[in-house]
């Protein structure tokens, strides 16, 4: 009875989007903390930009879009990792090269695929109508796996964030943790594409972490708090999107930004 009522009020598609968004935010919060601590925002942007290439490949090969994005994003991560070891170019140059190279290549390949029409706007900004039952299962199963992996590499990755040498001397294999984390971020971005879209996904990683930093004293607390803020942003944003018929990605990010701004008011008032 209650289920029927909820479904009636919100619509099946919205419930699916809400559940998917919550699953996503639960992983994006803690992962986003590392993105902020390790200054990986531009790395996230690179993965997200190259997602279009993944979409093109997925259509060419005939697999699920998110799967295509995950595969291409993982390949880009590996490329960044390997280039970082052999190249003397600064890392942001390598990232800029791959971000825009991937985006351009994706657009070129897509333009050849005239037989299929894809909704580029939905890819860029998210489309909650597109979340299927299958997506939901994939997001929650993948999300649970991602959280387990993150818990497993948490200590080495945190130690490596302070000092890779310290972590290595303690036998923690910081390079391995770094690579695994890169692939985990690739997975989060692939999963987020329908809900937040390519252009805005990094905001879902960075804003919750940035919002909670001043309220916590330890890294673990920051991860939990970022997950909570992320979930609140997704819920608020999706409800706003459904009510006002705004695109879901921007609505979520605007909500996250509003929460960030609200938490800053007391500090600003204090300074006056």
């Amino acid at each position: 009875m209650a289920n029927w009522w909820v479904a009636h009020m919100l619509g099946d598609f919205l419930i699916r989007a809400l559940l998917a968004g919550v699953g996503l935010a639960l992983v994006a919060g803690p992962a986003g903390c590392f993105v902020v601590w390790r200054r990986l925002a531009y790395f996230g942007e690179t993965i997200a930009h190259s997602a279009l290439l993944g979409v093109a490949l997925a259509i060419l090969v005939g697999i699920d879009l998110s799967m295509g994005i995950f595969v291409s994003a993982s390949l880009i991560t590996l490329t960044i990792y390997c280039l970082g070891r052999v190249e003397t170019l600064p890392s942001d140059t390598i990232l800029g090269l791959l971000a825009h190279g991937g985006l351009a290549l994706g657009l070129v390949v897509l333009s050849f695929l005239t037989s299929v029409r894809i909704d580029v706007e939905a890819l860029l900004f998210g489309d909650i109508l597109a979340v299927t039952r299958g997506d939901l299962v994939a997001i929650w199963a993948g999300g649970a796996l991602a959280l387990c992996v993150l818990a497993w590499i948490w200590r080495p990755l945190l130690a490596a964030t302070v000092s890779a040498d310290l972590a290595a001397v303690a036998g923690m294999k910081p390079e391995r943790a770094r690579l695994i984390f890169g692939i985990l971020v690739a997975g989060v971005i692939a999963a987020a594409i329908k809900i937040v879209g390519v252009l805005l996904i990094v905001a879902l990683l960075v804003i919750p972490a940035a919002t909670v930093r001043r309220f916590v004293t330890g890294p673990e607390a920051m991860a939990v708090a970022a997950a909570v803020v992320g979930v609140a942003s997704v819920l608020g944003g999706l409800l706003m999107s459904a009510r006002l018929d705004t695109p879901s990605g921007p609505s979520i990010v605007v909500t996250a930004l509003a929460i960030f701004a609200l938490t800053r008011i007391p500090a600003l008032a204090e300074k006056q």
């Binding site: 964030t161 310290l166 001397v169 303690a170 923690m172 940035a210 004293t217």
Partner: protein
């Protein structure tokens, strides 16, 4: 290529004629020493003479281009790097930093803090500590996990003269109490000479090729 050291021996690390080359310049070369349990040895030299690089070679972070480093089986090392920067965006308390790489019981944390004279520090954010407090805290962190060997890269940086002497006295006490060996990097030749411990001098190499011996 670590030739292992016999379990029974008191030798923790043995560097056999090690050298590290970058480009066609030897950063250091023909360096040979042993670190023995309970003993301390100093690595001395001017800026750029290769002290940090040599320590990292001993730690296994850098592979020597010449010679070998042998380590005792299952050697645990407590390390203070020369440079550590803490990002203001990473919340980290004193206690969390102490257990960064090794889990530890409360009693272990308390005795490590006591060993460096920080028992009354409480649990503030690491970023709020003074330079001298941070160096002592890093020494305490290196003690967690009961190391066989301490590798300290300029542990007295940012510490005044009196503080430096005190810090080295602490290290000596720790060496006795924990029964570990120590490789200490310092600029301070006087202090190394006064301690009566062994020291390995490093000299800066020319930026062109070293004439073959």
């Amino acid at each position: 290529m670590n030739r292992e050291i016999a379990v029974s021996s008191n030798i923790l690390v043995k560097a056999n004629n090690i050298g590290v080359k970058r480009g066609n310049r030897w950063i250091f070369r023909d360096v040979e020493f042993e670190i023995v349990r309970g003993k301390q040895i100093f690595l001395i030299g001017a800026n750029g003479s290769g002290k940090t690089t040599c320590a990292k070679t001993v730690l296994g972070l850098i592979r020597p281009d010449e010679g070998t480093v042998a380590r005792a089986p299952s050697l645990t090392i407590g390390y203070i790097p020369q440079k550590l920067s803490f990002s203001p965006v990473l919340p980290l308390t004193v206690r969390r930093l102490l257990t960064l790489t090794d889990r530890a019981r409360q009693s272990e944390i308390a005795s490590a803090l006591a060993a460096v004279g920080l028992e009354r520090l409480g649990n503030p954010q690491v970023l709020t500590l003074s330079g001298g407090e941070l160096q002592r805290l890093l020494l305490a962190r290196a003690l967690i996990g009961k190391p066989d060997l301490l590798v300290l890269d300029e542990p007295a940086q940012g510490v005044d003269k009196a503080g430096e002497r005190m810090l080295h006295e602490r290290v000596e006490e720790i060496r006795r109490d924990y029964g570990c060996g120590a490789l200490v990097i310092s600029h301070n030749l006087e202090l190394a000479l006064a301690s009566g411990d062994d020291f390995v001098p490093l000299v800066p190499h020319e930026h062109d090729d070293h004439p073959d011996a």
